[in-house]
Structure formats: structure tokens, C-alpha cells
Amino acid sequence: MSKSYRDGLPISPEKFVDQLMRLKRGSIGRREFLGLTGLGVATAVMARELGIMPTPAYAAENLGDRMSIATWPNYHDPATFESFKAETGVAVEVNVFGSNEEMLAKLQAGGSGWSLFVPTNYTISTYKKLDIIEALDMAKLGNFDGSQEDPRFTSEGTIDGTIYAVPKNWGTTGIAINTKKLTKPMTSWKEFWDTAMAEGDGRTMVHDYQLTTIGNALKYYGYSFNSLKQDELAKAEELLLKVKPHLFAVSSDYQPSMRAGDAWMTMCWTNDGAQLHRDIPEIAYVLGKEGGEIWTDFYAIPKDAPNKPAGYALLNYLMNPKVAVKEHLANGAPSIDARVNALLPKEVMDNPILYPAADLLKPLEFGAAATLTDPGRAELMARFKSA
């Protein structure tokens, strides 16, 4: 009777432990070897890549059949990639990141595998300096029209007259707040941090991202968002360490927690604020009156991109105003392209989350290149996280 049970089981505990002990002794079967080491999969992939096994053919341009893009959470309309695949046969793999540092780290290490990625304005000069991004071949980007872009947001993509990155959209870093749970009006970063230690105790999130978390702590005291001054950073650290035990989480992927009602208040980017408010009206998005960050996200192509033709093709596709308008409607970040703005519905253009009042925009600062690579800020963030 018990035999029949045994037959149905892929592995019995005795066998599991036997195998474990056998592996410890260094004995291993061929199938296990291939399975454990991934060599089996590697062989299959190589066979395919080298054309030993047939692959579905996509004629016309040689774009391959897949590429990967590195971008931010909740930043694209998944339908865009579906329609790109339908048009070109190229499947797009989306890698999501929580900080520019992480993107830089992957590119510095090499072999990231990305053919397109979405860096923020202040990082581009460092990428250029490290010689890891491509000078864009504008002939392949016929849909891009620089004359339609607002130069306030685009300047950092061009270095010494060469275009290294073209803009995706701009935005701000503010506060998303569940007004049903936290009823006191929120207008400043000072109130954000104070509330985190009072009514918002255990319900507040900050980014896992030194630029904004340290920057907005600096704003508590009215210092520059980009400060590298020792004494100012020390004050920011003091505040962060005081707030730490009261936080719900240190994470840049805050939408799920805000939607589930676990978190009531979070540091938030425009596009996430717009998405949250659209779906859950009681979640408001506000800017700190002391200032904070204004940013532009760009598209760039890594020098070691494994599939540059597809990277260019997708970038050109995304620069098509008809495609871009759908992207903006889905992700909610304000567009830089006048052609796209002309296509966007009036209520989007009138949305104060996307286009805040001028007096709120005025004190905002673009991130500075030095903050990306400064070891002092990196260590401060590490001390904050491990506290």
C-alpha cells in the first residue's frame, strides 16, 4: 500500500537527505549536474542562439526577438510593450529599480543586459564620464523632435553639444497622504517628518534612495536638497535616526502599501501620486513648501547594450507622440513634448498634481551630480538603514 504513495512522490525525505549527503561528498549525477549548475539551460540557450535549434524568424530589420529595459516602478503602460512586440516581434523584459545608484552599480559592474534604460537628469554626466552610455545616433530616432521639448527639462541630456539621452517626462518628489487616516493638512516637509513621529507613527514610508530621503530631511531645516556640507548632513542624520523607529518601511515601491492601507503617508513621485489619487481619491499628493526635488527622467542606451537595434527601435517607438500620450495617461507623469501635450485631455493638463502652481515649483531643485557619487551621503544612508 505504502509503495503506491512512494511512487507518486518526486522525492522522499530519506532520498532528499541522502542526496544532500551525496552532494556534500561531492558525488553528483549528470542530470543533477546540468540541473544544479544551469548548464543544461545554458546549453539549450546556446544551441538556440547559435542557430543549432530553429528559432522563430522575424524578417525585415534584424532586431532580434528580445531586449530588456531598466526603469522605475509603475512607470509604463504594459500595453505599450505588447504593441511594440506585435509590431516588431521584439519581447521587452522590464527591470524595475528603486534608485539611480542601483542602475549605476549594475552598469558599472558590466553585463547588465539592458538595451535601454531610464536615468534621472543628474546622473547623466557621471555616465558620460565613466564612458558607459552611447552618444545617441539621432538618425535612428526620427520620432524625436528637440524643438518641441521644453529646454528647462532637457539640458542635462546633452553634453558638449552631443545628445546622450532624450527626455521621457519630468516630475516632482512630494508627499502622498491618505487624508482619511491623517486628517491634519500637510503642506511642508517639516510637517511630514513631525507627523511621521506622531499621528503617522508606524505608517510612514520613505524612499530607499539617499537623494530624496536625505534631501527631504535636509529640507526640514531649510537646507539645500543637494547639500554636501558636513554639519547640515549631521543634522539631517540626527532627524533620520530619530524618525527611523517610527517608520513603516524604507522602500521605493510604496504603491502597494499605500493602496492596501498599510502605509498612510509616503515620499512620492508625481507619477505615483497621480496614479494613487486617480484610483483612491482620498490619497492626496502635495509638495513641501520648503522645496524639494524636481526631476527629468531620460532614456539612454548603455554602451554594452546587447541589442542596440532593438533599443533604438523601442526608443523611437516611445518618442512617437501617439504612443507617448498613452504612456502619459497610464503613468501620470507630466510630458515635456509639446506634441504630446497637445494630444492630452484638458483635465490632465489642468491636474495640479501634474502641473503644480508656480509658487510651489519655484523653490524646487534639480538633483546635483555630486550627490550621486558622494561617499559621505552613501554612508549616511547606510547608517540610517542599519540603525
Binding site: 556534500k24 549605476l104 552599480a105
Partner: protein, 314 residues
């Protein structure tokens, strides 16, 4: 090298006649040589594998660990022990790990032992394999997926929503040390149950009868016989889970909200955020050394506890 002829050895300068015994000795040496060559050939792939994927990376990390962080992050060549001197900057992370790894492993043990005991000694024969399968099957799903599932169970739309339904509002379960501990116990339970189960199943039940016959209470039989004899399994499970926990970073990130900071999280941040490869390497080397010390200690303790019996943990 056949023993038949009396061919002079071409490599030998004298080329003379050999006494009868020498021929046999040569032939034996040949077999030995062939045997050694065979062993060497058989070992070559594994050795190569270890050298390429274990020794070389380890050497690279050791070299990185005495280097400096490049201005834009990464590594630049240098010879300094500054990274090791800076280790106290991650003392909190080390401390958290050194506390949570044994606590997590112990909590795992507390849950696993009764299950293994029931499975090995109490469960009806015809149910045993099904029950064991139920223990093992979740293990086939990736830890990431299972941890994500817990995020939803513990999150606001999971258990807290049910509690709110019966009038208990605003309970927070996710992103607490308790949630991390739960995730650890859940994630590593099979690794603890199976070795204990195996050692309990091998238990000679006549010993239990003998113990009872000699007047021992069930409790002292359990402590003196059952527990004692299952200690090798317990120590195997404990050190397996403990070693894995020393490098854990996924569960604290997902269920602890990035607030419960393990040394694994410090490593991830050093390589992926601040891009301080040399410091990260120094921590990695230290972590490896600490793991080795823990293993040796666990080995010693288990050898002492289970009497003279030798126990191999790894």
C-alpha cells in the same frame, strides 16, 4: 608494461638485465600511476569548477577588500586595511544577524521538532508519506514567491482586514520583527524537519521500551533517549538553517520593510547602492570567516552533546 617479455627499459641508461622482482614492481607502479591518472581525470572537472567559481571569486574578493572605492564608486587598486578597520560601521547589521540567525534557527527548531517527532514516531504508516510530501511540496516553490505571498497575507488586505471585520481596527503585522521571524520559520522549516525526521526514524524503538522498563518517566525517556539520539539531526538542521540565515536578505527586505537590517542587506547596499566594493568585500570575507567559526563551534557542541559519536555537519 606487460610482464611477459624481458625488454630493456628504454629510459634506463644501464639497459641491463633486471632481477625478477623488479619487473613486478614496475608493473605495479604502472597500475598505480594509471589509477592516479584516472582519479585525477575524474576529479578534474570538479576541481576546475571549484577553482573557477569558488576559489577565484574568493581571491578576487580578498584582493578587492584591501583596495579603495573609486571616486565614482566601484574598485580601485590599493593596499590598505582601512576597509577592515571600518568594519565597526556595520556593527549593528552584524549584531542583528548574530541575534536573528540563531533565534530564527531556534524558532524553526521549536516548530520543526514536534512535527518531525509526530511524523517519525506517531503518524499512522499510511499517512506518513502524504504528510511528508505536504512538508516538502511548498519547498519546490521559490522562496521569493512564498515570501511575497506572506506580504499579502500579513498586509492590510490580509489578516488585518479580517480583524477589522470583527471590530479590531488598524492592526499592523507586516514590516515588524515578528513578521521577519515568521517568514524565516516558514521559509526554512523543511530544512529543519527533514534531518530531524531522518534521525528520529532511525531510532531503535526497543531503547524506548527498555527505558520504560527500567522505570523512566515518559519525559525522562524523551530527554535521555529520544532527544539525545536525534541530536545529530537537530544539529544538522540547526546549522543548515543558521548558515543560510547568516546570508539572508530577502525576507528582512520584504517582510521587514527594509527596516530590519541584516548583514546580507548591508552587503547588497554596499554593492548596489553606495558601490563601495572594497568595503563590501571586506564584510563578505568577515562573514565567511564568521560562518566557518560558527560551523566549527556547532560541530564541537554536537559532538560533545551526542557523546562520542562523530557528526558531520557539512
Amino acid at each position: 608494461m606487460s610482464g611477459a617479455g624481458h625488454k630493456p627499459d628504454p629510459g634506463n641508461a644501464t639497459g641491463g638485465q633486471w632481477p625478477a622482482g623488479t619487473e613486478a614492481a614496475f608493473s605495479m607502479r604502472g597500475t598505480l600511476l594509471r589509477k592516479n591518472l584516472m582519479t585525477a581525470l575524474l576529479l578534474a572537472p570538479a576541481t576546475l569548477w571549484l577553482v573557477v567559481f569558488l576559489v577565484l571569486p574568493f581571491v578576487a574578493i580578498a584582493i578587492f577588500s584591501v583596495g579603495e572605492r573609486a571616486p565614482e564608486g566601484g574598485y580601485q587598486a590599493a593596499f590598505t586595511l582601512a576597509q577592515y578597520a571600518n568594519l565597526p560601521a556595520r556593527a549593528t547589521a552584524f549584531w542583528n544577524t548574530m541575534v536573528l540567525a540563531p533565534v530564527g534557527a531556534f524558532a524553526c527548531l521549536l516548530v520543526a521538532y514536534p512535527v518531525a517527532y509526530y511524523l517519525a514516531l506517531r503518524a499512522p504508516e499510511r499517512w506518513r508519506l502524504i504528510l511528508l510530501a505536504l512538508v516538502v511540496i511548498p519547498f519546490w516553490t521559490s522562496l521569493l514567491m512564498r515570501t511575497y505571498a506572506w506580504m499579502y497575507v500579513l498586509g492590510g488586505r490580509g489578516i488585518p482586514a479580517l480583524l477589522a471585520y470583527v471590530g479590531i481596527e488598524d492592526v499592523r503585522l507586516i514590516n515588524t520583527p515578528g513578521a521577519v521571524l515568521l517568514g524565516i520559520v516558514y521559509g526554512y522549516l523543511p530544512l529543519m524537519i527533514l534531518p530531524i525526521y531522518v534521525s528520529l526514524e532511525r531510532l531503535d524503538r526497543r531503547l524506548l521500551e527498555a527505558s520504560a522498563d527500567l522505570g523512566a518517566t515518559p519525559l525522562s525517556t524523551f530527554l535521555g533517549v529520544t532527544l539525545r539520539l536525534s541530536l545529530p539531526g537537530v544539529m544538522t538542521g540547526f546549522s543548515l538553517v543558521m548558515i543560510l540565515l547568516l546570508g539572508e536578505y530577502l525576507i528582512p527586505t520584504l517582510l521587514g520593510g527594509g527596516k530590519v537590517f541584516f548583514i546580507g542587506n548591508a552587503l547588497v547596499d554596499l554593492f548596489l547602492q553606495s558601490r563601495n566594493w572594497p568595503f563590501g568585500s571586506a564584510i563578505a570575507i568577515t562573514l565567511v570567516l564568521v560562518s566557518v567559526v560558527v560551523l566549527i563551534a556547532a560541530n564541537r557542541i554536537s559532538a560533545r552533546l551526542s557523546g562520542a559519536r562523530r557528526v558531520d555537519l557539512i
